[in-house]
C-alpha cells in the first residue's frame, strides 16, 4: 500500500520520529489512533472509511523524544493542523503531513442499526457506493454528517498527498431540516438531545482545538458550571465551547463521533462554522497565514453577526 510504503520510508530514513496513524480496533468498524515508531509496525497502519478520530488531537500526546512527527491526514485533520499552526501550537517544520484522499467517513452506528452482527469484511466502499453483503447502496446516506457537508476531503497543506483523485460529490446541506423549524422547535430539539449529555467531556477531549490547559467547564475560581449535568449547565458547556471554537472549528465532527451517547453535537458546530463563513467570509484551516476573525479588529466591521 502506498501509504505504508511512504510511512515506512519516513521512519527508516529518520525524517520523523513517529507517525500518527490508525490501527485496527478490537471491534468491527473501529480503528485506533496509534503512534508508529518502528518500521516493523507499519504493517498495522491502515486507512479505511472508519478512521474517524481527528489525529491532530494527538499532537498533544506525543512523547518528548518525538520531535518531528508525520500525521496521516484526511482533509479535516489537515485543516485542524493548519489551525494549530496558526495558533502557534505546532510548527510547520516539526510536522510531516502525510495527506490522504478521504472517501468520507462511514457512520458505523448506522451500519450497526441496520444490519445485525455485520463484519467489517462484509462492507466495502467503491467510489460513491457502499457495498454491504454484496448489495450496493449510495455511500452518501451512510456518511457522517460532517462528511456529507465536507468541501475539502483532502488536506490543503501537505508534504505528500496519496490516493487517487476523485471528484467531490455534491455537498449536502445537513442543517436544512433544522433551519426550517420554528425557533421553539429548534430549541426543543437541542434540549432533547442535550438532556442526554452526561458531561463526560469526550467531545471536548477528542477535539484538536480544545487544548486549553484549564477548560472553563472545570474551572473552580471562578466556577462557571456545576459538575452535575443539569440541562442549563449542559447548555452552558456546549454553547460555551461552540463560542470558543467559532472561527477555529474545522467542522470535522470528531466531537460527535466521540460522544458515547450519540448526541449530534456537531450540528451546533456546523451552524457556528456557517455563521462565521457567512459573516466573515472565513473558513477555518484553509491558510496558515490567514488571520482568524476573532483575533482581528476592524474599525469598519459591520458587526452583523451580533445584531
Amino acid at each position: 500500500m502506498e501509504l505504508r510504503d511512504a510511512a515506512r520510508k519516513l521512519l527508516e530514513e529518520g525524517t520523523v520520529q513517529g507517525i500518527l496513524g490508525y490501527r485496527r480496533g478490537s471491534l468491527p468498524f473501529r480503528t485506533r489512533p496509534y503512534l508508529f515508531r518502528n518500521p516493523e509496525d507499519i504493517e498495522d497502519l491502515i486507512f479505511t472509511p472508519f478512521c474517524t478520530v481527528n489525529l491532530a488531537r494527538y499532537l498533544f500526546h506525543l512523547p518528548r523524544d518525538c520531535r518531528k512527527v508525520a500525521v496521516v491526514a484526511k482533509g479535516c485533520d489537515g485543516r485542524s493542523l493548519v489551525v494549530l499552526m496558526q495558533e502557534n501550537q505546532v510548527r510547520r517544520e516539526d510536522l510531516y503531513i502525510l495527506g490522504v484522499r478521504c472517501p468520507g467517513m462511514v457512520d458505523r452506528r448506522k451500519l450497526e442499526e441496520r444490519w445485525e452482527r455485520l463484519g467489517e469484511e462484509e462492507v466495502c466502499v467503491a467510489g460513491e457506493t457502499l457495498v454491504v453483503r454484496g448489495v450496493a447502496y449510495p455511500l452518501s446516506s451512510f456518511l457522517e454528517p460532517s462528511c456529507r457537508r465536507c468541501r475539502h476531503r483532502s488536506p490543503l497543506v501537505y508534504d505528500v498527498l496519496l490516493g487517487e483523485e476523485a471528484p467531490l460529490p455534491p455537498r449536502e446541506d445537513v442543517l436544512s431540516e433544522l433551519r426550517c423549524l420554528p425557533p421553539g422547535e429548534r430549541w426543543a430539539f437541542f434540549a432533547r438531545e442535550f438532556s442526554r449529555c452526561i458531561r463526560c467531556y469526550a467531545c471536548r477531549n477528542a477535539c484538536p482545538m480544545c487544548y486549553c490547559k484549564e477548560c472553563f467547564a472545570e474551572s473552580h475560581m471562578p466556577s462557571f458550571l456545576h459538575p452535575s449535568p443539569t440541562l442549563r449547565d449542559t447548555f452552558v458547556f456546549h454553547l460555551g465551547r461552540a463560542m470558543h471554537l467559532a472561527g477555529r472549528c474545522v467542522a470535522c465532527g470528531a466531537c460527535e463521533r466521540a460522544c458515547p451517547l450519540g448526541i449530534p453535537i456537531a450540528t451546533l458546530f456546523f451552524a457556528v462554522a456557517e455563521t462565521v463563513r457567512e459573516h466573515f467570509a472565513f473558513e477555518a484551516g484553509m491558510d496558515v497565514a490567514a488571520l482568524a476573525p476573532f483575533v482581528t479588529y476592524r474599525e469598519d466591521d459591520p458587526d452583523a453577526c451580533i445584531q
Binding site: 471491534l27 485506533r32 478520530v53 500526546h61 452526561i198 469526550a202 477528542a206 452535575s228 466521540a258 458515547p260
Partner: protein, 318 residues
C-alpha cells in the same frame, strides 16, 4: 455454570405479565438483547447512585443558616439487568456503600427498595469478559429471579410467574447453550493479578499501554462499578449539596487547592483506573472492581481496551 432442577419454562407474555403494575427498568445491555417495554437505564448505578443527587439543602433564613438533609424514597423498583451488572451492585457498590462503615444513608434506602432480576446471557458479546474476572454469563448472584431467553421460551429460576417443567428437548437445548458458553468462555485472569499489577506500578510499559486514551470520562461514567463521586454545592443563599459522578480521568480529580497534583499526567490517571479496578480494590475487598461487561470498550471514542491493558501488564509482570 449450572442449571437448577427447579427451573421452569414460561412464555414471554407471562413473563412480562408478571411485572405488570410494578415499577420496572431494564439496563441497556438487557434491552439490546431482549425486546422489553420498560424504560432503559445505562447501568444499575443510575438507580442506586444517580448522576445528580441532593444530599442536603441549605438556606439562609431568620438571619442564620439552616440545613435539612434530603433522602430518597424507599420505593420498590425492579431492575432487569445482566449477570455482570448484578455483580457490580452486590460485589462493588454494596461493598463500598453498605458494608463499609459508615453506611451511606441515601444508597442504603435506594438499595432497600431495589430488586434485581437477572437476564442471563446465552452468548459472549464482542466486548464481554465476565469470566475473566470471576463472573459468569449465567450467574444469578444478588438476584431474586433469573431468566434465560431461549428459542422455546423463557427459562426461569427463583421469583417470577409460575411455569411448567422443561421437557427433554428443552433440557437438551439448554444443555447445548451451557456447553457452548463453556466452550467460548474467556479464561480467568491469573489469581495473583492484583499483586502482579501492584508490582508493575513503575514499569515503563505503562506509557505505551496508556497512549491513545483521551482522558475523557465516558468509560468511568458508563461503568457499572465506577463509584467515585464529587460533592459540590449549588446555589448561594438557598441551595443544595449535590453528589455527582466524578472521574479519575479528569485532571482536577486529585488537584489540591495548593495546586499540587499527585496525578498530573494522563498516564498516571489511566494507570489509576486500571489499578483501582484490578489491584487496589481487590487487595482491599477481595474481588476485582471490574465485572467484565466491556461497556467501557464499547463506548470509548478510541476503542481503548482495559482488558488488553490488564493482559499486557500482567503478562509482563508474571
Amino acid at each position: 455454570m449450572r442449571v437448577s432442577s427447579e427451573g421452569r419454562i414460561v412464555s414471554y407474555e407471562a413473563f412480562l405479565g408478571w411485572f405488570e403494575g410494578k415499577r420496572v427498568f431494564a439496563t441497556e445491555i438487557v434491552s439490546s438483547r431482549l425486546r422489553l417495554p420498560f424504560p432503559v437505564l445505562p447501568t444499575p448505578k443510575s438507580l442506586l447512585l444517580p448522576q445528580r443527587e441532593v444530599l442536603y439543602r441549605f438556606f439562609w433564613e431568620k438571619r442564620t443558616w439552616n440545613i435539612t438533609p434530603a433522602f430518597p424514597s424507599e420505593e420498590t423498583v425492579f431492575l432487569l439487568c445482566a449477570p455482570c451488572e448484578a455483580r457490580a451492585v452486590v460485589r462493588v457498590l454494596d461493598a463500598v456503600f453498605l458494608e463499609s462503615a459508615p453506611q451511606d444513608t441515601s444508597y442504603a434506602r435506594r438499595r432497600k427498595g431495589l430488586t434485581l432480576f437477572v437476564v442471563g446471557c446465552t452468548f459472549f458479546g464482542a466486548t464481554c469478559f465476565c469470566t475473566r474476572v470471576g463472573g459468569s454469563p449465567l450467574s444469578s448472584e444478588g438476584a431474586s429471579g433469573f431468566v434465560l431467553s431461549l428459542p422455546f421460551g423463557m427459562y426461569l429460576e427463583g421469583e417470577g410467574p409460575e411455569g411448567r417443567s422443561p421437557g427433554p428437548l428443552e433440557k437438551e437445548e439448554l444443555e447445548r447453550v451451557l456447553e457452548h458458553l463453556k466452550q467460548s468462555a474467556p479464561p480467568p485472569f491469573p489469581e495473583r493479578t492484583p499483586e502482579y499489577l501492584f508490582q508493575a506500578f513503575g514499569e515503563a510499559s505503562w506509557e505505551e499501554v496508556a497512549w491513545g486514551c483521551l482522558n475523557c470520562g465516558a468509560c468511568t461514567f458508563l461503568c457499572p462499578t465506577c463509584f467515585c463521586f464529587d460533592l459540590a454545592p449549588e446555589g448561594r443563599l438557598r441551595g443544595a449539596m449535590i453528589r455527582t459522578w466524578d472521574s479519575c480521568q479528569f485532571p482536577k480529580f486529585t488537584l489540591h487547592a495548593s495546586s499540587h497534583n499527585p496525578r498530573p499526567h494522563p498516564l498516571q490517571r489511566v494507570r489509576q483506573r486500571i489499578l483501582h479496578k484490578f489491584s487496589y480494590f481487590p487487595l482491599r475487598k477481595g474481588c476485582f472492581s471490574c465485572v467484565g461487561c466491556g461497556r467501557c470498550v464499547l463506548v470509548c471514542p478510541v476503542n481503548w481496551s482495559i482488558q488488553e491493558a490488564v493482559e499486557r501488564m500482567v503478562s509482563g509482570a508474571q
